[in-house]
């Protein structure tokens, strides 16, 4: 097989071309001419002809100048389509999202403008055997994290054994003293988790982040699939893509099985902050797919340590609340006193075990970015196993050696705040000015516990249809795991988030990210 050499053009491109051995291709990248013929042969004049690989990154579709086996069928189909056909599909996808109200509202000049989250029509494809590894790895990780949460709000054995420094937990703002000693039903703290994975240049998956509080995006995973069914009906069946559509049913079963009252029909509700929340669509989507009431804080009331919802038929006791509200807004009597989103007295009902909250309160301590670095140790400590999926190397900036190392090599580092997500509050070392580094360094020096650093990971790329041609964009992957009394289930797939800006490594939707359907195909 021909080997591909990719070069960034340093000397005038024309000189290279004159030699006849290279040609400028796409975004200032030179390709050997023999490879070019291969690609042209493969693409037959479709928009794929201009697909410029990013050197030094793992591309999910192309390897060594040829299309990876899992993409071959899709590639063969797509190259038959003209840019115009693809535009039509792109347009149809946008219309489908719009008409179903899968939108968020941007308020400007007194007027709400509805926007859809960008969706790219080409699915991201993962081989079944690779997926099986991911699944086992996530299962292992969640087991350890659950044991950690039980331990840290109980005996704190892991601190006593010195595996995790006690000061790390003591200084963690997400550690919720109010739930110390509360044992949730079935000892499950993490019922629903979204684990963010990335693939580095070596092709290996790494865990970038655990989301154990109120991970969102699952409705996009499901809706993206529904839209893909409309766009490429034949491709889906021909590729034998594993099903994700049973997620709401699994979730509903899990929620029902958590109820502590021994009755035939426990009442399960989904609690939303309200219509102005950016994930409101997802809340309605899940409530509807499970057939459970969608409640707001003002619909609930606590009486004698029991939670009731106000219905037209009077009060009705609630057994399980899948809440999409952050901990600090749940109960104004315990957390933020000025919050009107929550229910006064909710925590007392929770403490008594009269209501199950999903996820449990206080999970933030386990997905804190500084605690993250210790998850491999947790796996070894609680399970006596080696981690199946590795962490991204993480430097604690409270350690002076690590601090020095990070700022000496800031060009290849990303520094993050431990209590922030959504791509906010971070410093990408390769895309910053010296003044910004100095200012940021001062912030870190003032409060080193609140910062960590990681080497900038070379997120893998996937072709995206942008401006009428295929262009590589960086992606991550968020599979969704459900933990119930019967074990951990992970639907085969997840949300692939794409950084749509050229060269950007930030995939968060708040920072110009979009999403893709994710296919797990049989090998």
């Amino acid at each position: 097989m021909a080997k591909v050499y990719l070069f960034r053009v340093r000397r005038p491109a024309a000189d290279w071309e004159k030699s006849g051995k290279f040609r400028i291709f796409g975004n200032n990248v030179l390709l050997p001419t023999h490879f070019l013929t291969n690609i042209q042969h493969m693409t037959g004049g479709s928009p794929f002809e201009q697909y410029p690989l990013r050197p030094g990154f793992w591309d999910e579709m192309i390897s060594d100048g040829s299309v990876r086996p899992e993409y071959r069928h899709t590639f063969d189909t797509l190259r038959q389509l003209s840019a115009e056909d693809l535009h039509q599909k792109d347009k149809l996808a946008a219309e489908l999202f719009m008409s179903q109200g899968i939108t968020f509202t941007v308020y400007s000049e007194d007027k709400g403008i509805e926007r859809i989250f960008p969706f790219d029509i080409l699915p991201r494809i993962i081989r079944g055997s690779e997926w099986d590894l991911i699944e086992t790895g996530i299962r292992q990780r969640l087991q350890a994290l659950n044991l950690f949460l039980s331990d840290i709000y109980g005996e704190q054995q892991i601190l006593k054994d010195g595996v995790i420094p006690a000061e790390l937990i003591a200084s963690c703002p997400q550690y919720t003293r109010q739930v110390h000693g509360i044992r949730p039903a079935h000892d499950i703290h993490v019922h629903i988790a979204g684990i963010d994975l990335i693939r580095d240049a070596d092709g290996k998956y790494y865990v970038l982040e655990d989301n154990l509080r109120t991970p969102s995006g699952v409705s996009y995973m499901l809706e993206n699939r529904e839209v893909t069914k409309r766009l490429f009906p034949d491709l889906l069946s021909a590729n034998r893509v594993r099903m994700v559509g049973n997620y709401p049913l699994l979730l509903h079963q899990n929620l029902l099985s958590l109820a502590t009252r021994q009755i035939a029909h426990p009442v399960v509700v989904l609690m939303t902050p309200g219509v102005f929340n950016s994930a409101y669509y997802e809340h309605t989507f899940l409530a509807r797919s499970m057939g459970i009431p969608l409640v707001e804080g003002r619909d609930l009331v606590v009486d004698n340590h029991k939670v009731y919802m106000k219905t037209t038929q009077g009060l009705r006791q609630v057994d399980v609340i899948y809440r999409r509200i952050d901990d600090e807004f749940l109960d104004p009597l315990v957390f933020k006193p000025d919050s009107i989103l929550g229910v006064p007295g909710l925590m007392s009902a929770y403490r008594k075990g009269n209501v199950v909250l999903v996820n449990a309160v206080g999970n933030g301590v386990a997905d804190d970015k500084a605690v993250y670095a210790y998850v491999p140790d947790m796996i070894r400590y609680y399970l006596n196993e080696e981690p199946i999926i590795s962490n991204v190397p993480t430097y604690q900036l409270s350690d002076p050696d690590a601090f020095r190392h990070v700022f000496d090599n800031i060009g290849s580092m990303v520094v993050k705040k431990t209590d922030q997500s959504g791509g906010y509050g971070m410093l990408m070392g390769n895309k910053t000015t010296e003044e910004e580094v100095i200012a940021y360094r001062k912030q870190v020096e003032a409060d080193p516990r609140n910062f960590i650093a990681q080497p900038i990971i070379k997120l893998s790329t996937v072709p995206c249809f942008l401006d009428g041609r295929w262009q590589p964009r960086h992606v991550d992957l968020r599979p969704f795991a459900l933990c119930g009394p019967d074990g951990i289930r992970i639907v085969p797939g997840g949300l692939t988030r794409v950084a749509l800006r050229e060269g950007s490594l930030v995939v968060n939707s708040s920072q110009g990210g979009g999403s893709k359907d994710t296919w797990i195909v049989e090998d």
Partner: protein, 313 residues
């Protein structure tokens, strides 16, 4: 059902019905305004006074300017009761109750919302093609009715939607009839030309039924009989109250509380006032007093309904 959801469903249908009613009135007024020599003064003032929140200055500026008046009623968000504002509120209610309405109903409400917020939507009002725009909107709201009727489960939510719809309809009929009767000092013996009444009947979709049902020349009495007492006319007081009674029974049977008993008794009295009345009785108490009493009753009824079922905040 959650009280908040019941409230949202009730208001969803009230706003949709109000939109429908205003559309019909606008279309009728607009088409008749093209005819010279009708009884109509060609002024938009009554419509603006009745169905918008226009102030004095706006009334003066818009009354004789058809495109501007239409734009104000349909699309001006400064007007709290513009169709655009009503449909936005309908969608907000649908959004809050999304898990209790069908996907089809939600998509139709959402589709209407996006259509009226599309760029250049109002442009259709400025040329002489306003009817096309109004018809397009009517088609969308009619589709909403069809989709809701075809897909919504006949549970208590459906009952709340229908109570909302018929309450709104009843109020519109009452208000509109009042406007026409007031212009002739509530004199039932004043035999106005049928052309005078045609406008009211067209605005209520009742002209054809009128021609089929009433043969003698006492137009005023006939029209009042139709809009108040005709139980086959879908916008009459009698019909809408019959419907409210039907759906209210479903709701109160499912919730036999003290408040719902009070509500039932009150509704029964109000319903009887129409059911067992006729033109002679109205002549005795005067149409003006009758309308005032009905309006007060309806208001009281909606308050009691809210107290019994929508108290959640």
């Amino acid at each position: 059902m959650l009280s908040r959801i019941a409230d949202s469903l009730y208001w969803l249908d009230r706003y949709m019905e109000r939109t429908d009613n205003i559309l019909l009135i606008l279309r009728t007024e607009y088409v008749l305004s093209l005819d010279e020599g009708t009884e109509r003064s060609n002024s938009w003032q009554p419509v603006l006074e009745h169905f918008t929140t226009a102030n004095r200055a706006q009334l003066d500026a818009l009354s004789m300017n058809t495109p501007e008046a239409l734009a104000f009623v349909v699309a001006d968000t400064g007007n709290q009761n513009s169709l655009r504002a009503l449909l936005t509120r309908a969608r907000e209610n649908a959004r809050g109750a999304q898990d209790q309405i069908t996907k089809e109903v939600w998509e139709q409400v959402n589709h209407i919302y996006h259509s009226i917020h599309a760029d250049g939507f109002e442009d259709g009002l400025k040329d002489r093609d306003a009817v096309r725009l109004l018809d397009g909107m009517t088609e969308m709201t009619t589709l909403y009715r069809g989709v809701a009727s075809g897909t919504m489960p006949r549970s208590i939510g459906w009952s709340f939607m229908n109570i909302g719809k018929h309450t709104e309809r009843c109020m519109t009929t009452l208000d509109l009839t009042d406007r026409y009767l007031r212009a002739m000092d509530y004199d039932l013996e004043d035999q106005k030309d049928i052309l005078y009444w045609r406008q009211l009947l067209l605005s209520l979709s009742g002209y054809e039924l009128h021609l089929k049902s009433y043969r003698n020349g006492q137009h005023t009495r006939n029209v009042v009989d139709q809009v108040f007492f005709n139980r086959h006319f879908t916008r009459s007081l009698r019909y809408t109250l019959d419907k409210i009674g039907h759906y209210l029974k479903d709701v109160t049977d499912a919730n036999p509380t003290q408040e719902s008993e009070v509500l039932n008794r009150f509704f029964g009295r109000m319903h009887s006032r129409v059911r067992y009345a006729d033109l002679d009785l109205i002549g005795e108490v005067t149409p003006e007093a009758f309308i005032r009493q009905m309006r007060d009753d309806l208001l009281r009824f909606t308050n009691l309904l809210a107290q019994a079922f929508f108290s959640y905040a």
